[in-house]
């Protein structure tokens, strides 16, 4: 599903300010198809979703009766807001672990490996060529009752009968999603490390800082834009993830998307599903806005120090 996310999240563009806008008829004609496309597949669905979130369901049919009941329900029923909070927590853990894994790896590949740097980089990135679904299933094989992990532990005698908790737990979901998003985060961090000029690191050493202080005072701050971009990516995509909890999470680790899915499907409660969708959307947009700002603040120096 999310195998080819747009890279625009990772590389924020700095639009030139104060550019004069010139409206020409030809330009307008050119813009018509994308506008239609966006309206049909983006604006209209979102507006519909938004409107839907205020209706009610009565015996399986939607009643067009404006109210905030769905929102009230969402914020008072622990099934809904609890799941939402749990999703935030899982996303936070996935983000945390992805950074924890990929930062040292990116640092190591970029600074420590002299020969075959490209090869190592590619090795880390290779999982991206495998479909999301396959990677998620792979974890099922590893963690399942008759899975590799259980068999291994049985063989070396740490456990005496297969353990169930590996699979169908939030840990499995966090593990799988961390595995799935780490390459993306790594790419983003690696790129930002690559952009630090050698001279700047040497200047730091020249001025009396050893390797560690150079790392803390120079490398970390200068790679922050990459960390933020990667973190945003992992966080937002985990927020919307649906397959990993479905395959690996079991009922106790349902995430927001699963709830929405069942509301739209089995429960046939579109209005409440829409409400949860809208809340998620707002939160995600808020996060994107926040990180975008952070990133812009830290990224303003990425163009180097020379000239203007």
């Amino acid at each position: 599903m999310q195998d080819e996310p747009s890279l625009s999240v990772m590389k924020p563009e700095h639009p030139p300010k104060h550019r004069k806008r010139i409206w020409r008829p030809r330009l307008l004609i050119l813009l018509i198809p994308p506008i239609i496309w966006l309206s049909v597949f983006l604006f209209i669905p979102y507006v519909t979703l938004f409107i839907n979130s205020f209706w009610k369901v009565d015996f399986g049919t939607i009643v067009h009766d404006f109210s905030f009941d769905n929102y009230k329900k969402f914020f008072t029923n622990p099934l809904y807001y609890g799941t939402f909070l749990k999703t935030l927590r899982i996303a936070a853990w996935v983000t945390f672990f992805s950074i924890l894994l990929s930062y040292p790896l990116a640092y190591f590949i970029h600074f420590k490996i002299k020969k075959n740097k490209q090869l190592f980089y590619t090795l880390v990135i290779i999982p991206l060529w495998v479909s999301y679904l396959v990677r998620a299933y792979a974890w099922k094989i590893v963690l399942g009752q008759d899975g590799i992990l259980n068999n291994f532990l049985l063989a070396i005698g740490i456990i005496h009968k297969p353990v169930e908790i590996f699979l169908y737990s939030p840990y499995a979901v966090i593990l799988a999603l961390t595995h799935i998003y780490t390459p993306w985060v790594l790419m983003s961090i690696y790129t930002s490390l690559e952009h630090i000029p050698r001279d700047v690191l040497e200047a730091s050493k020249d001025l009396g800082a050893g390797r560690f202080r150079t790392f803390f005072h120079i490398v970390i701050p200068l790679s922050l834009p990459g960390v933020i971009a990667g973190a945003t990516f992992a966080f937002v995509l985990t927020m919307g993830d649906f397959l990993a909890p479905q395959l690996l999470g079991g009922t106790s680790s349902m995430m927001v998307s699963n709830v929405v899915y069942s509301l739209f499907g089995v429960a046939n409660n579109w209005p409440l599903g829409s409400t949860i969708g809208i809340v998620t959307l707002v939160v995600v947009l808020g996060i994107l806005q926040l990180t975008h700002r952070l990133e812009k603040r830290t990224a303003s120096f990425e163009d180097g120090t020379r000239g203007r």
């Binding site: 000029p197 001279d199 700047v200 040497e202 200047a203 730091s204 050493k205 020249d206 001025l207 009396g208 800082a209 050893g210 202080r213 005072h217 120079i218 701050p221 200068l222 830290t298 303003s300 120096f301 990425e302 163009d303 180097g304 120090t305 020379r306 000239g307 203007r308």
Partner: protein, 357 residues
């Protein structure tokens, strides 16, 4: 007094390529020494070895008499001004300059005083709160100098620090840097491939070519007494003639140039050989339509081209036997020569320097 920096037979090899081929160099305390050479001759590599960013594959580097080859850059009392300035983009100008003090553990209050002092020195006191991106190229350059000077280094290394500036700013910064150096008495090792810059700023110039230092001398000396063909050709302009030595008395020599007798003197530290090179600066050559009886010798030729360059005139003369010689004379009201004129050339024995081929 002992030299502050000494390079002894320093070599550097990258893979199979020998980039620096055994350099010996002594830099005196408080001196402004310039390493001058063409692109790729190993200047930056040499400087990086002094700073500690590269380890020599052979030889020794002494700082105040101590071998520093194994001392990492952050523990050497030398600082570098990078060609790219290498300012820390996420820090303000103040923080950039204070960085060196912070790393040395100087207390905060003393830091601020010293930073102000150094910023004042480069006339940037008012810009402490800006980020490097908000400064012009010239201002960034000054910050780089201030940052490198903040710890009172024993030696300041500068790698083409003015390379990125336009000509006018460059000239101005040359003077400012020179003044700063004189005022502080800090030893400067300065890299450039611009000979004019080297001649105006330096106490001594080390001319480098293909990984070797060809000559180290004061600017005037290096111009007047080049010790190799390369130096004669690289510094200023010159005419190089292939000659044979006929006889010599003291420093003066009588030379044979394609069957004609010429005068010259032996260059410093030159071994006599059968074939030598005679170097004559264009402005030392006299050109005239008639032979002056005082001239020790005269070569005949024909004016091939005259180029008016404002204050001087460059005259190309084709000698009767085919070689082209060019001369420079101050331009006077009326041109005394025109293209095609038959002329005679001569120079003082003093001005013809004989060096090894």
């Amino acid at each position: 007094m002992n030299p502050i920096v000494q390079l002894q037979n320093v070599e550097k090899q990258f893979g199979t390529e020998l980039v620096v081929k055994g350099i010996d160099l002594e830099v005196e305390k408080g001196e402004f020494l310039t390493i001058l050479g063409p692109s790729g001759c190993g200047k930056t590599t040499t400087l990086r070895m002094i700073a500690g960013f590269e380890t020599p594959t052979d030889g020794q580097i002494l700082l105040e008499g101590q071998n520093v080859v194994d001392i990492p850059p952050y523990r050497r009392d030398v600082n570098t001004v990078f060609q790219s300035y290498a300012l820390f983009p996420h820090m303000t100008i103040y923080e950039n300059v204070a960085y060196g003090l912070r790393m040395k553990g100087v207390p905060k209050s003393a830091q601020s005083q010293r930073v102000q002092e150094v910023l004042h020195m480069v006339q940037l006191e008012s810009l402490g709160n800006r980020k490097p991106m908000q400064l012009s190229g010239g201002q960034q350059q000054r910050v780089a100098v201030a940052r490198a000077l903040v710890n009172n280094p024993k030696v300041l290394l500068l790698d083409e620090p003015l390379g990125a500036l336009d000509l006018k700013l460059r000239k101005q910064m040359q003077i400012e840097l020179k003044h700063l150096q004189q005022q502080l008495g800090v030893t400067f090792i300065y890299i450039t491939h611009d000979q004019e810059e080297a001649l105006t700023m330096s106490d001594r110039i080390a001319v480098m070519n293909q990984g070797r230092i060809e000559q180290v001398a004061a600017p005037k000396d290096i111009y007047e007494n080049p010790q190799s063909k390369y130096v004669a050709d690289f510094i200023g302009e010159t005419n190089l003639l292939e000659v044979k030595i006929l006889s010599h008395a003291g420093p003066g020599v009588v030379l044979d140039f394609l069957g004609k007798k010429l005068g010259g003197r032996m260059g410093n530290n030159q071994a006599m050989a059968e074939r030598m090179i005679l170097s004559v600066r264009p402005e030392r050559i006299r050109v005239s339509k008639e032979v002056d009886p005082d001239w020790p010798f005269a070569l005949s030729g024909r004016v091939e081209e005259m180029i008016f360059v404002g204050s001087i005139i460059r005259t190309m003369v084709r000698l009767t036997d085919g070689m082209q010689i060019f001369t420079m004379t101050p331009s006077q009201g009326k041109a005394s020569l025109v293209k095609g004129d038959q002329v005679w050339l001569s120079w003082e024995e003093e001005d013809g320097i004989v060096i090894g081929a």
